[in-house]
């Protein structure tokens, strides 16, 4: 570790790229010093903070320098030798990461040295506190982005701010670079280099204060000042780091030779993960713009036909996708092996029952994961955990979602016994589910909306729950499963072949 760190430091400190980047930042500091108001009492921090917290230092000069440091690592010609020596991809990645930390340290050291020279050369007073100008400008209401007055109201000490700025940029560069690094060590250096190059160009482009949604503004991932200016910018940055580090760890730890598209797509966990990811996509808009009242994330996600069309679609499409993947598996089995499977199970009924039991288990797992996601997001949104757990709509909505999924699973299982083309029948069922759920019966017939029993009407009091609809859906799920089991007899088996 120490050796890699030292090696990285030495390489970067002597690199012309680091020297050029430091010279550019130094030049910005000189311009900043010359532009300071002459009639005000300023100090070194006013110059340093204005330049180093600016997006042009981290998301423009910094990211280009970082890419130049990363490319030799990604295209390392001794990759096989390192793998032989270190044994695992993960160890090689960690060793490279320490070297990269050393490189970041070298750049920081050069910038500190250059900055010291410049501020001392200009004769600035060096104290570990904000200048009178920084504080008075706040009082006057003058707040320029990236300037020390903009930060002095939030941070008591400029040193803490500078450390945060440096750590933030370093974390952003290391976490995103770790993905490219893991990809390169895994054997895809060209993909890693081109992919990270695209990321760098996008970051540079978004650093020009372009109006972009926060979650795709990658300049906020490496620039502390810009992240604090954007709505939810800090949260977006932390999410980016977490996702990148998890992805890098996954790439580095996943055993070689087991990653294949077919295997991945067919795996049960992959489809469950994709459905949870879809649920997360559906939850995100409700974190920041949730409805007022208790459990806004839950109520936004399970708004059903009472919300907008996209919000309505997400829970329905998760259930439909789950049932579709089940039907696809059944279809493959019935195309050639069904008789053998039925013989092994003992009868057609036992065979389909084993499938139903398995799907119900996985549907419960899907619902539990969704519940956990909602719980985490509700808690991170500021609602205490016990309040979410004590909210009866939480349990009712999740049970409703589970029941709808079972209804669709039973429907899919029933379709294989019908002598009609399954594909067209299933597509029609999907369309009917989507439309009937979106246009549920209203008034006295509202209790018949069994396809969206989880939908929470914002017009009703929070303690008013769709219990009748839920009971209806559970009954429908039980009946549909029963019908499938009754239907699973040899005299109906012709449709299976």
């Amino acid at each position: 570790m120490i050796r890699s760190l030292r090696q990285g430091f030495a390489e970067a400190f002597c690199s012309p790229a680091t020297v050029v980047a430091t010279v550019l930042i130094g030049a910005f500091e000189i311009f900043q010093a010359l532009a300071m108001p002459p009639d005000q009492v300023v100090n070194a921090w006013d110059v340093i903070i204005a330049v180093l917290s600016d997006a042009k230092s981290s998301a423009l000069i910094g990211i280009i320098w970082w890419y130049l440091m990363l490319v030799p690592v990604l295209t390392d010609s001794a990759r096989e030798l390192r793998l032989i020596r270190d044994g695992t991809i993960f160890t090689v990645c960690v060793r490279h990461l320490w070297a990269l930390v050393g490189k970041l340290g070298a750049a920081a050291a050069q910038v500190v040295l250059a900055t010291l020279g410049i501020v001392l050369g200009f004769g600035y007073e060096w104290r570990l506190e904000w200048s009178a100008w920084a504080r008075s400008a706040v009082a006057d209401g003058f707040l320029a982005a990236y300037s020390s007055p903009a930060y002095s109201a939030q941070f008591d000490s400029p040193t803490v701010l500078l450390v945060l700025v440096a750590l933030f940029s370093g974390m952003g560069m290391l976490s995103t670079g770790a993905v490219a690094l893991a990809l390169a060590v895994r054997g895809y250096p060209l993909t890693a280099m081109i992919g990270y190059g695209v990321f760098v160009v996008w970051t540079m482009w978004s650093s020009f204060a372009v109006e972009l949604p926060t979650f795709i503004d990658t300049s906020a991932v490496v620039t502390f000042g810009w992240a604090t200016l954007r709505p939810n910018g800090l949260l977006a940055a932390v999410l980016w780091w977490t996702v990148c580090l998890l992805l890098a760890a996954g790439l580095a730890l996943w055993p070689v030779g087991t990653v294949g598209w077919k295997r991945l797509v067919n795996s049960r966990w992959a489809s469950l993960s994709a459905l949870w990811a879809l649920a997360l996509l559906g939850i995100l808009p409700h974190i920041f713009g949730g409805s007022p009242g208790p459990s806004p994330v839950l109520r936004g996600f399970f708004a059903g036909p009472f919300g907008d069309i996209v919000s309505y679609t997400i829970p329905v499409i998760i259930s439909i996708a789950f049932a579709t993947s089940f039907l696809a598996r059944l279809q493959e089995e019935t195309s050639g092996y069904v008789l053998y499977r039925a013989l092994r199970a003992g009868s057609y009924r036992r065979w389909i029952r084993s499938h139903l039991v398995r799907e119900i288990t996985y549907a419960a797992l899907l619902t539990t994961g969704l519940g956990a996601l909602l719980l985490i997001m509700e808690t991170s949104n500021g609602q205490p955990l016990h309040r979410t757990l004590n909210d009866p709509s939480y349990a009712v909505s999740l049970v409703g979602f589970f029941a709808v999924t079972i209804v669709l699973v039973a429907l899919a299982a029933g379709f294989i016994w019908l002598p009609t083309p399954r594909e067209a029948a299933w597509l029609t069922a999907m369309g009917a589910t989507l439309v009937l759920g979106y246009l549920p019966p209203s008034g006295t017939l509202s209790s018949l909306s069994v396809l969206v029993p989880y939908a929470l009407d914002p017009g009703l009091p929070p303690d008013s729950l769709p219990v009748i609809q839920l009971i209806g859906t559970i009954s429908l799920a039980a009946t549909a499963s029963g019908v499938v089991l009754v239907r699973a007899v040899p005299r109906h088996a012709d449709a299976l072949y």
Partner: protein, 252 residues
């Protein structure tokens, strides 16, 4: 049958909504008819028209069996062409029915449903500007109602053809036909959800594919961008599949 079902569902939902609401102009009623059921059903309807027959022919080795008497490239091209024509005709017809119902039939049945004063819009120019900002295709009304009808029909027909290409590619690439036929719906919904989350609803298929409408400011370039990307990608992919069909084991 798909055409009749879609038209019936859409007209029923459209008329039941229009009778109980007020609108700025006839063009806004057309937007209502192009609304919810068809927006949800569009990719499913495209898949039902474009996919099952092709999937069945592939799975039952019909296409492989006909190779000795017909070149696979021309066979696939002919099928793709036929699917495209059928989709274009079905969805153009559906759009034309919606425009006729929204522009002429509904205002004739419920004359009070058009109430610009209720929106504080007395000036006809302001009404036109307000509707044009939400639904860019209404600019064709400056040429005439027929141009608007043709514009809406071509728009929906062309979008259906693009999704038909997606269905064609999915059926050729994915052996499990149930999964393959769900791909257009997946593409349509996941893209819409993603752009909604990214606060760019104008780029969502759900906002623009059937009829660009529903946002406060909706430019034609924003509405057409997702179709261009999908169109370019799917046409190139379909061309690659057709060109490599002679050596593709899927047709062996």
């Amino acid at each position: 049958m798909v055409f009749a079902l879609l038209a019936a569902v859409n007209l029923t939902a459209g008329f039941s909504t229009v009778g109980a609401s007020a609108y700025r102009s006839e063009a806004q009623i057309v937007g209502e008819f192009m609304g919810s059921p068809i927006r949800l059903l569009f990719p499913i309807a495209v898949a039902i028209i474009a996919g099952p027959a092709l999937a069945s022919e592939l799975n039952h080795r019909y296409i492989a069996s006909t190779r000795p008497r017909e070149d696979i490239r021309s066979s696939l091209t002919r099928k793709l062409g036929r699917i495209s024509v059928v989709l274009f005709l079905v969805f153009s017809g559906l759009a034309a029915i919606n425009v006729l119902a929204g522009f002429y039939v509904a205002p004739a049945i419920w004359p009070k449903s058009i109430d610009p004063a209720g929106f504080e819009l007395a000036d006809p120019t302001a009404i036109t500007a307000a509707v044009e900002a939400m639904a860019p295709l209404t600019r064709l009304l400056t040429v005439g109602p027929l141009a608007y009808l043709i514009g809406c029909a071509v728009w929906m027909g062309a979008q259906a053809v693009l999704f038909g290409f997606v269905t064609f590619i999915a059926v050729l690439l994915i052996r499990r036909s149930v999964l393959a036929l769900a791909i257009p719906l997946g593409v349509y919904l996941v893209e819409s959800i993603m752009f909604q989350v990214l606060s760019l609803p104008g780029l969502a298929f759900m906002s623009s594919t059937v009829y660009p409408d529903g946002l406060e400011r909706f430019s034609i370039s924003q509405a057409i961008a997702p179709a261009i990307v999908l169109g370019a990608g799917s046409i190139i992919a379909a061309a690659c599949l057709v060109l490599t069909a002679r050596t593709n084991p899927r047709f062996a």
